[in-house]
């Protein structure tokens, strides 16, 4: 920027900031209720208001506002039918799980306040990469590609929704109470914040990480272990070369390196102990409940909220 631009930019900024007008505190939309009885979205909006807002203090946003997303991406809203399926499935496989195991207050206190779902993928065209989801400071989770939501594809749902949600939820938990320092020592020296992307899944497992992203740093490692432990089926663990024990309490390595297995198991154990100690949160119970619900999932059960009824 040459001096001309600097000076003019400064002048413009002063022009904007010198006079702070007192903005009207009243929006013209303040009198609009959270849902409109005459709208074709009424039933769903009512459901969201009663279930998400009143129930869990969560704003489930399916109406896309570009300002609230990454402006670098070309995006479109989620299809209305998909939005409904996602809302009910998140309740079934996330909210109801914690609700049952930990109680409503736990969710109201710790879950992100905004769940923003987008229809299209977030593709960085110049780099050829795709962002699966974004979490902003424990306040908001944005999930992309929801127009491809498939309730009967558990691996897809875990990849694009639930892994991210448990991951971010766990971040909030460890940021709220003292992070276990001993955890940072388990894989000290192996974290690679600059080039974790260059590691393959196999390399990560061998070094005692559940995903390559776990290698970025200890806090990410911590929440990746928790989210993978909760969401991944025995088949998913098997695809990684591990066997989940019959009682679901630990994993056993079947392919190669015993060292990686024992490291991951020690991480799982530490996560369990810390969650139990700090929140009376039983990770095994959460995983068992999630797995039971994954096995029982049908469209009718999810959309009619009829699990166990």
């Amino acid at each position: 920027m040459n001096i001309k631009h600097i000076v003019l930019a400064g002048a413009i900024m002063l022009g904007f900031t010198a006079c702070k007008e007192k903005l009207s505190p009243n929006s013209i939309y303040d009198d609009i209720p959270p849902y409109d009885e005459t709208s074709y979205t009424y039933e769903f909006d009512k459901y969201l208001y009663e279930t998400y807002v009143l129930g869990y203090n969560i704003a489930f946003q399916y109406k896309l506002n570009d300002v609230s997303t990454d402006m670098d991406y070309n995006l479109v809203p989620v299809r209305f039918d998909k939005a409904q399926e996602v809302a009910h499935t998140v309740k079934y496989l996330f909210l109801d799980v914690y609700d049952k195991q930990m109680g409503k207050d736990f969710l109201r206190q710790y879950t992100p306040r905004i769940l923003n779902i987008i229809g299209s993928p977030a593709v960085n065209a110049s780099q050829g990469t795709e962002t699966l989801g974004v979490a902003e400071g424990g306040i908001k989770i944005t999930l992309y590609k929801m127009n491809e939501f498939d309730m009967y594809n558990m691996a897809w749902m875990n990849k694009y929704i639930f892994h991210t949600m448990h991951h971010e939820f766990s971040h909030i938990l460890h940021q709220t109470k003292t992070f276990p320092k001993d955890y940072e020592r388990i894989s000290a020296g192996l974290y690679d914040s600059q080039s974790w992307q260059s590691h393959t899944d196999k390399e990560a497992y061998r070094l005692g990480f559940v995903t390559p992203y776990s290698m970025s740093e200890a806090h990410e490692d911590f929440v990746e272990v928790i989210s993978s432990y909760i969401t991944d089926t025995r088949e998913t663990w098997k695809d990684r070369g591990f066997i989940m024990a019959e009682d679901h309490t630990h994993i056993e390595f079947v392919d190669e390196d015993q060292e990686g297995t024992s490291i991951i198991n020690s991480k799982i154990t530490m996560c369990k102990e810390w969650l139990l100690d700090k929140y009376n949160y039983q990770l095994d119970s959460i995983r068992a409940e999630v797995q039971r619900r994954q096995d029982a999932l049908t469209y009718d059960i999810v959309m009619n909220d009829s699990y166990g009824k």
């Binding site: 001096i3 001309k4 000076v7 003019l8 400064g10 002048a11 002063l14 022009g15 010198a18 006079c19 702070k20 007008e21 007192k22 903005l23 009207s24 929006s27 013209i28 409109d36 005459t38 709208s39 074709y40 979205t41 399916y62 109406k63 896309l64 506002n65 570009d66 300002v67 402006m71 991406y73 070309n74 995006l75 479109v76 809203p77 989620v78 299809r79 209305f80 998909k82 939005a83 229809g119 299209s120 993928p121 593709v123 960085n124 065209a125 127009n147």
Partner: protein
């Protein structure tokens, strides 16, 4: 240094204007927030106050092929969108509800913020992150100046969008069907066809390409997307006029005595076909073309004659797939000079004994005064298995085809205008009408 000093003075001047002085009178009656909210409210009310909705001329990005939508904004936040196009409605007339809102966070923006198949697909990034490169949010540019008109700009891709209030007596279904009729008369299946643009002083060549024209301007190939509405053709940027300054943007369809033109309102610029029907049929292909016989809208005698051939073949285990006129050009270079040999034929493809066959009844063709004459020349042996199934002798079999397809014909556009010659009616003096459709044209 001199310039720097000037800039510093400019800054000080600006500061003196913008500095806080509570004693100064306000420039506006309302605060900035109140003004933007009032503008949003005005825009909201204007959109809702259209009982029969709006016509939206939507270009995904500047000079892309565009599309017309009919949109009704309801006060409860619902919006009804109707369209018929090949991108978002599979060319079926469809209407779909979704939601709309005015967002006044930054500027006043109209947002279609829930998914609407008809509209959202243009903004969908697909797998490549780009897709059709369109927008679903539009910055309002003029809510106040004209009560029946709104101009907006796509928030990301910055294409201008025009909306006009629909008269209350406009029937939505008829509106979209009228566009379809205009499309059929002009551009349906017409990709790659060259047309003429008369700019008022000289002729230019346009090549039609899926909702756009390609043409040379300033020695560069330019793309000019347009939209068809019942009132005619509307360009995004338009085509340069003879004055080299202004652009012809809106054209209406005019049926003249012997041709159809798309003309500007002042009549000075127009778009027309480069060919007559006979030229298009007979001469203007440089390499290879085939015109397939279509029973529908061929005359009854021709239909009966062809059906008799098809039935005879089927009765003896052969299925005729296609019959069409074919023209092939063979290019030879002799002593550095290119020599072209044209041959004409009736091409017949058929299935017999589990195998696919194709063969030609070769024809002589002459062209004179917009008339084409086909006469029998010879046949290929690959047709013999078929001939044996439909007649006692090859000569008798050939006669069945030549009786139906040879003669002297005057081609006419099937689509109703000389702008679209991709389907033709070959008519003779005795009332024979053969409907043919261009199947494979390599220009």
């Amino acid at each position: 240094m001199k310039h720097t000093l000037i800039y510093m003075i400019a800054v000080l001047t600006l500061l003196s204007v913008t500095g806080c002085n509570r004693n100064e009178s306000r420039l506006f009656d309302q605060s900035a927030d109140e003004r933007i909210q009032a503008r949003a409210q005005h825009f909201h009310d204007k959109l809702v106050d259209a009982p029969n909705g709006w016509e939206m001329l939507y270009f995904p990005y500047p000079d892309a092929a565009g599309y017309a939508f009919l949109i009704n904004f309801l006060d409860n936040g619902d919006v009804i969108v109707a369209a018929k196009n090949d991108v978002s409605s599979d060319n079926i007339l469809r209407a779909e509800s979704s939601c709309w809102a005015i967002d006044a966070t930054q500027s006043v923006v109209l947002t279609f913020h829930t998914y609407n198949t008809l509209l959202s697909i243009f903004a969908d990034p697909q797998d490549d992150g780009i897709g059709e490169n369109g927008d679903y949010e539009f910055i309002l540019l003029n809510a106040e100046s004209n009560e029946d008109y709104i101009r907006m700009k796509g928030k990301k891709h910055e294409a201008y969008v025009r909306m006009s209030r629909l008269a209350e007596d406009v029937d939505w279904r008829q509106y979209l069907m009228d566009i379809n009729a205009l499309y059929t008369k002009t551009f349906m299946d017409n990709d790659g066809t060259e047309m003429i643009y008369w700019d008022g002083a000289k002729e230019r060549t346009l090549t039609y390409d899926n909702g756009r024209f390609l043409y040379m301007e300033d020695k560069k190939e330019q793309e000019r997307g347009f939209i068809l509405t019942p009132s005619g053709m509307h360009f995004y940027s338009g085509l340069l006029r003879a004055d080299q300054k202004t652009y012809a943007q809106d054209f209406v369809l005019v049926d003249e005595e012997d041709r159809t033109l798309l003309k500007t309102e002042d009549g000075e610029a127009w778009i027309g076909s480069k060919y007559t029907a006979a030229d298009f049929f007979a001469y203007k292909f440089t390499k290879y073309s085939r015109w397939m016989y279509v029973a529908e809208d061929s005359d009854a005698d021709t239909q009966a004659a062809v059906q008799a051939i098809i039935d005879a073949a089927r009765g003896n285990g052969a299925i005729i797939n296609n019959i069409g006129y074919e023209r092939t050009v063979t290019v030879q270079t002799i002593s550095g000079k290119e020599r072209r040999t044209y041959s004409h034929a009736l091409y017949i493809s058929y299935l017999a004994d589990g195998k696919q066959f194709g063969g030609r009844i070769k024809l002589d063709q002459t062209n004179m005064n917009e008339e084409i004459t086909f006469s029998y020349k010879s046949y290929e042996e690959s047709l013999l298995p078929l001939f044996a199934r439909i007649a006692d002798t090859p000569t008798a079999a050939v006669a069945l085809f030549t009786d139906a397809f040879c003669g002297t014909f005057r081609p006419e556009s099937y689509c109703g205008s000389t702008l679209n010659l991709t389907q033709l009616l070959l008519k003779d003096a005795d009332g024979t009408t053969i409907h043919v459709k261009a199947d494979k044209i390599i220009m």
